[in-house]
């Protein structure tokens, strides 16, 4: 598979004001490490899931990748071309804009209340692919049909549509400019289960029919597992584990992934799974200590090593990577990890 999108060493820090006391030398600006050295790729036709808790930086990461936000440092290439160096303000007018489109979290907030469904879908076409009026109309009707939106609803405003219909408008709008990569930021979290199923089926069908790649962000692991082949787990601005969905969900190697999986409620009637309860508070994203593992404050298996050298993301076989000194692995793979344990966070710049 050819790589479509590649991100290398993405860093995004936001400056915050911090009370440094009266002594001027203490008043250096503090920074939120929203995204801290993240590298990943999405291949053509691949569906990659990105999971993590609120505040872990997943939305910041996808906004950088979608070129809605500029990174502090790092590179992004799309189809071999460098898009990371183009400022986000200019990217909106580039032809590449059409290749990466986004479906936003809340279908109510992300549609202009003064635009009809037709205008919402036509707007990106008018901006990026100007065409004659009749062609535009045909395109919008085609997109609506593709997304299962009845034509008579196209003249309605968002407040006249149901949640599921608004979600369909959001998807049709993103597809109208024929993107190659669709970034879905929690597309079903605002929907009821009955509607969620319909939208998930629609996304799966569209992907197969149009050969799209998806970057699918969600905090609902059950949904990620259904749609994605590969999954990235993020914690406090870093990817802590990545690998195929079957591997990661079958045998999570990072203690955070394990805790996250054990926390999902299941409908199994054969009693509950053993739950890994995380005690302790999550680490503050403001100026974290570069030598301490970000997960240490909540980790059930942290040792002094974890406070002296933060673990780096290292491969542990079969395309899987884990950032932990003590990953939960099958015995055969433990020896391999011992060798790379020397690696640690490399936070420069």
């Amino acid at each position: 598979m050819t790589v479509l999108l590649e991100a290398r060493g993405l860093v995004k820090r936001f400056a915050v004001k911090k009370d440094g006391g009266w002594w001027p030398l203490n008043r250096r600006p503090s920074q939120i490490f929203a995204v801290d050295g993240v590298s990943f790729s999405v291949a053509e036709g691949e569906t990659v899931g990105l999971v993590g808790e609120s505040g872990c930086g997943k939305s910041t990461l996808v906004r950088i990748v979608a070129r809605l936000l500029d990174a502090t440092s790092g590179e992004i290439t799309f189809g071999g071309a460098d898009i990371g160096s183009v400022p986000a303000r200019q990217f909106g007018r580039m032809p590449q804009r059409a290749n990466i489109q986004m479906v936003f979290q809340d279908p109510t907030d992300s549609l202009n209340p003064r635009f009809t469904a037709f205008d919402a879908i036509a707007d990106p076409v008018r901006r990026l692919r100007p065409m004659r009026r009749a062609d535009l109309k045909a395109r919008v009707f085609e997109m609506a049909r593709l997304c299962g939106l009845p034509e008579e609803l196209l003249s309605r405003f968002p407040h006249q549509l149901s949640g599921g219909q608004k979600a369909r408008v959001g998807i049709a709008r993103a597809l109208a400019v024929e993107p190659k990569l669709l970034i879905l930021d929690e597309p079903t979290s605002a929907l009821d289960v009955s509607v969620q199923v319909v939208i998930l089926h629609l996304l799966q069908e569209l992907k197969e029919r149009l050969g799209l790649s998806y970057l699918f962000i969600s905090h609902d692991l059950n949904v990620v597992r259904l749609l994605c082949k590969r999954v990235l787990v993020m914690y406090a601005g870093r990817i802590v584990e990545q690998g195929s969905t079957a591997d990661v969900f079958g045998a999570p190697a990072h203690p955070y992934t394990a805790a996250l999986l054990s926390a999902i409620p299941s409908m199994s009637t054969e009693g509950r799974r053993a739950r890994i309860v995380l005690t302790g508070e999550p680490v503050s994203p403001i100026d974290p200590d570069p030598n301490v593992c970000r997960f240490y404050s909540r980790c059930p298996s942290g040792t002094s090593l974890c406070t002296s050298a933060g673990p780096a993301l290292v491969p542990v076989g079969s395309g899987r990577e884990v950032a932990c000194h003590f990953p939960r692995l099958a015995q055969s793979e433990v020896g391999r990890v011992e060798g790379v344990r020397a690696g640690s966070y490399n936070t420069t710049g």
Partner: protein
């Protein structure tokens, strides 16, 4: 537990709630009934707009001004709460019933330290002096496993994380050792790991104090982990009530079965997930059929249009359907 021998803590009988709006009367809850026994957890599950929250507000007596209770009784220890005056209801709320709301940050007073907010409840309902109430508030904060409770008691809600705020809400709700806790979507908006901790905490305290819990949620998976019994609501009706295991393994109402099939489970694949056809009927309609699921129901037959039966399949399993599975 044999329900015939134990007296229910709370009995809801034939309860109907309407909302008068500019665009017509919304028949939000229609003749529902259920019991909650001491110490048990009953989950009410349904899609948004099915009347779950309205039911809990009606029990607490905190319905909106536009709402009218048109029929029914809410019996608590032999008295009908719907007939009680506001003074008496204020005594019951907080002391006997407590409620945890969906969004802890908006439910807490933003300009008062959380310890003082808990102490307020205690001095109102437990008759403690101000200093005693504050000391007790810190104890309750420790009970909900907030680290460093003395310091956190001085914090304002904006200084605490969402999970911490929800713990404060729980501490406040449990401070007077209520007999019934109503938890309205207590973990919506919280992360999966925090959700697990909060739900375990509610379960632990409920068990330790013998408190009954009414858990309102849209998440069938969450309900199935926490609840002893589950009531499924659809468009203002309770369509099925059963012990959790029976409901999941042998649902009798077609809507319950569709809801289970639509909920992503750890073992299923996307193709196994089945959508529920149709949408909730418009509850403003005057011609709502007796079975409000009939227009979506794959098993709908002509004789479904009679008045809806509430069939007792066993002592603890009830279903409202003419043709149960």
């Amino acid at each position: 537990m044999k329900p015939d021998e134990v007296v229910p803590l709370l009995t809801v009988e034939d309860l109907s709630v309407e909302f008068r709006t500019r665009s017509g009367t919304v028949h939000a809850v229609d003749r529902i009934g259920f019991d909650i026994y001491p110490g048990e957890t009953l989950a009410v599950v349904g899609e948004s707009g099915s009347g779950k929250s309205v039911t809990s507000y009606a029990i607490m007596g905190i319905l909106d001004n536009a709402a009218r209770v048109t029929s029914g009784r809410v019996l608590f220890r032999g008295t009908d709460l719907l007939k009680e005056d506001e003074v008496r209801m204020r005594e019951i709320r907080g002391r006997e019933f407590a409620m945890i709301f969906q969004n802890p940050r908006t439910a807490l007073n933003p300009i008062r330290p959380v310890g003082k907010q808990i102490a307020d409840v205690l001095s109102r309902h437990a008759g403690l002096s101000a200093s005693e109430a504050y000391r007790r508030a810190i104890e309750v904060l420790a009970q909900v496993k907030i680290p460093d409770p003395e310091r956190r008691a001085r914090a304002y809600p904006f200084e605490l994380s969402g999970g911490m705020c929800q713990r404060v809400m729980i501490a406040m709700a449990l401070s007077c050792r209520p007999a019934l806790l109503i938890a309205d979507e207590p973990t919506t908006g919280l992360d999966a790991t925090i959700q697990a901790v909060i739900m375990d905490l509610i379960g632990e305290i409920a068990q330790a104090q013998g408190m009954a819990t009414l858990l309102i949620t849209h998440d069938l998976a969450l309900a199935s982990e926490q609840a002893d019994r589950i009531a499924v609501m659809h468009a203002g009706h309770i369509v099925e009530i059963a012990p959790t295991k029976d409901l999941l393994t042998a649902p009798r109402h077609p809507y319950t079965r569709s809801l289970i099939a639509a909920t992503p489970a750890p073992a299923a694949s996307l193709s196994e997930l089945a959508a529920i056809p149709g949408a909730l009927p418009d509850l403003r309609r005057d011609d709502l059929p007796p079975c409000r699921y009939s227009e979506r129901c794959p098993r709908h037959e002509a004789d479904c249009d009679g008045p809806l039966p509430l069939e007792r399949l066993s002592a603890r399993h009830t279903v409202a359907c003419w043709h149960p599975l």
